[in-house]
Each structure stands twice: as structure tokens, then as C-alpha cells.
């Protein structure tokens, strides 16, 4: 009972944060709401997860939840990697723009003799 209450309170806390942030991340608000709601439901009705697990060929409800958690984590990590790559591309673009605006010329014997402003 204590564990169920602690986990439920934790998930409710996360739910509160998700609701507060819903305007910033509208696209994932509903999926987040769904996952948290399912999580709270399964905490109080664990037999349901066992029932579903047996239907899909997994031994225990806890195992099913663990497998789902692993898959979700991998997807999250890949998503974060992609976001980081995009951020890196923005930084590269900015850094390059600064470099191209301020070339320094060692001598004037070349075709691109430009003077620094």
C-alpha cells in the first residue's frame, strides 16, 4: 500500500508538471497524459497488467512493463540524439557565419584580398 501511494504521488507530481507545461509542448501533452494515467491505473490494478502480459506472451505484468519501459527509453534516447544533432547544426551555422564575416588576410597577393572592417 505504501509503495502504491508513493508511486501514485510521484506520478501525480509529474502529471502536475506536465499540465503546467502543456502550452510549451502541446504535441506530446496527450501522450504524456495517457502514459501517466495508465501508470497510475496499473499501480492500483496490477492484475490487469498480468492479464495483458499473458495475452501477449510475456510471463508477468512487471516484465511487460519493464520491456515497455526499455523500448520507450531507447526511443527517447534516439529522439534526444536527433535533437542534439539539430542543435549542433544550428551552432555550426552560427559559428560559420561569424567566421565568414570576419576573414583575416595575411597578405594582398591573393584573389580575395578583403580588409577587416
Amino acid at each position: 500500500m505504501i509503495i502504491q501511494l508513493s508511486l501514485s504521488l510521484g506520478l501525480l507530481g509529474i502529471l502536475g508538471y506536465v499540465i503546467l507545461q502543456r502550452d510549451k509542448v502541446k504535441v506530446i501533452f496527450m501522450p504524456q497524459l495517457a502514459v501517466i494515467s495508465v501508470g497510475i491505473f496499473l499501480i492500483w490494478f496490477p492484475n490487469v497488467s498480468t492479464f495483458i502480459a499473458k495475452k501477449v506472451g510475456v510471463g508477468r505484468g512487471a516484465d511487460l512493463i519493464t520491456y515497455c519501459w526499455i523500448v520507450a527509453s531507447i526511443l527517447l534516447i534516439v529522439n534526444l540524439q536527433i535533437k542534439l544533432k539539430k542543435l549542433e547544426a544550428h551552432i555550426t551555422k552560427l559559428t560559420r557565419a561569424i567566421a565568414l564575416v570576419q576573414p583575416k588576410n595575411g597578405h594582398h597577393g591573393n584573389n580575395f584580398a578583403t580588409k577587416k572592417d
Binding site: T92, I98, G109, N111
Partner: protein
Amino acid sequence: MIKQDIEKTYIIIPAYNEASVITTVVNTVMKHFNNVIIVDDASTDKTAHLALEAGAIVLHHEINLGQGAALQTGFDYVTQKTSDCYIVTFDADDQHRIDDAIELLTILKQTNADIVLGSRFTGQAINIPSSRRILLKLCSYYTQRILKIQLTDCHNGLRVMTGKTASKLCLQQNGMAHASEIIDKISRLNLKYAEAPVVINYTEYSKSKGQSFWNGFFIVRNLLLQRIIN
């Protein structure tokens, strides 16, 4: 080489903390070419200052991005002004010979190719570490079998290309994966390519600056991520 070819050839040298060799490299290149562009990738030593003193044009990255990003900055600098030119990519660690660059340029003109790449395996790889040889051979195997591009050396920094080719490459890989990206682009853009022997001299200094064997895995990861994003 005729004077007009020299006038419209731009040597792009990405550099990161190469203060001990950059003056030698720039001086050597400038004996044959006027347009030497050092892309200083946020070096923490005097690379940029020494390159400037030696007479090069210096483009400075405020943040260290990687060799691929530095090359693309160099490409953008040149192709913003003209695409009727030749571009040579040349390493800053004194591994390459300028005579090889001249030879590659001659081959580019004779074959009317879009890009000519150097190969240390049809040329010479002096003191190459065995782990590096294995990694490069694996890369060549992938290039030949999967990309169907017949190259014996897929990660050689010495290349010559037309300005039009450089303007098409649009490198997105900032790090060492750019070399694989260039080959991928040769395949996708159906560019006319050739390969020619070059000499790479692995000094203790250049070996200390080179890639580790395990970097190959990060290169593959970066290329896969880029495919997903694209």
C-alpha cells in the same frame, strides 16, 4: 601548371592547434599557390596568428566544431565569390606533399573529373600504424561493396575538386565522418571521380593528432543519425 590555373586554385587547410607545423605547411604551399585559406577551428595555441604571419587568409571558428565543419566553412568562403575555380583540401599536420596536390590537379583537368581523391594505398603510407591500416581497409570495403564507389583510400584528406563540386557537397558531418559523407555524396550526386597515388608520411607528431581506432564506431553512429534526420 599554367598561371591561370594557379590563380584560380584555392588551398583549404582546416587547422586545430597546429602551431608547431603551420608555418612550414603554409610556406610550402605558398611556394606554388597564392590562395591559401586556413580555417582555424578555435585553436588554443598560436595557429591562427602564425598562419596569418605566413601570409594565409585565416577564417576563425569561435567554437571547435571539427574538420568537416572547417572544410565546409572554407568551401563556403570560396564558392560565395566564385565557382569557376579549383579547390584543394590539404591537411595542416604536414602529412601531405604539395607535389601530390599539383599532380591531383593535373589529373582533374586531364580527366575532366569533378573530384580527384588521393590514395595512400596506391601511393605510399610511410610508418602507418597497423590499426589505422585495418580501419581504412574496412572503410574501403564498405565504400566499394555498399556505395559501389571504387576507392582504395576513403579517408584521405588530400582531394582536389572543381568549385561547382564544392558548392554541391554541403557537408553536414562536423567531425571526421565528413570523409565518408563526401564519398556518399559522390555516389548520390553521381559525380565523376578519380583516384591517384599520394604519399602520406606518418610522423610521431601527426600520429598523435590522428583518429583512434574506436573513432570508427562514432563515425558510423553519426552517419546513421544523419540519415534518420534527413
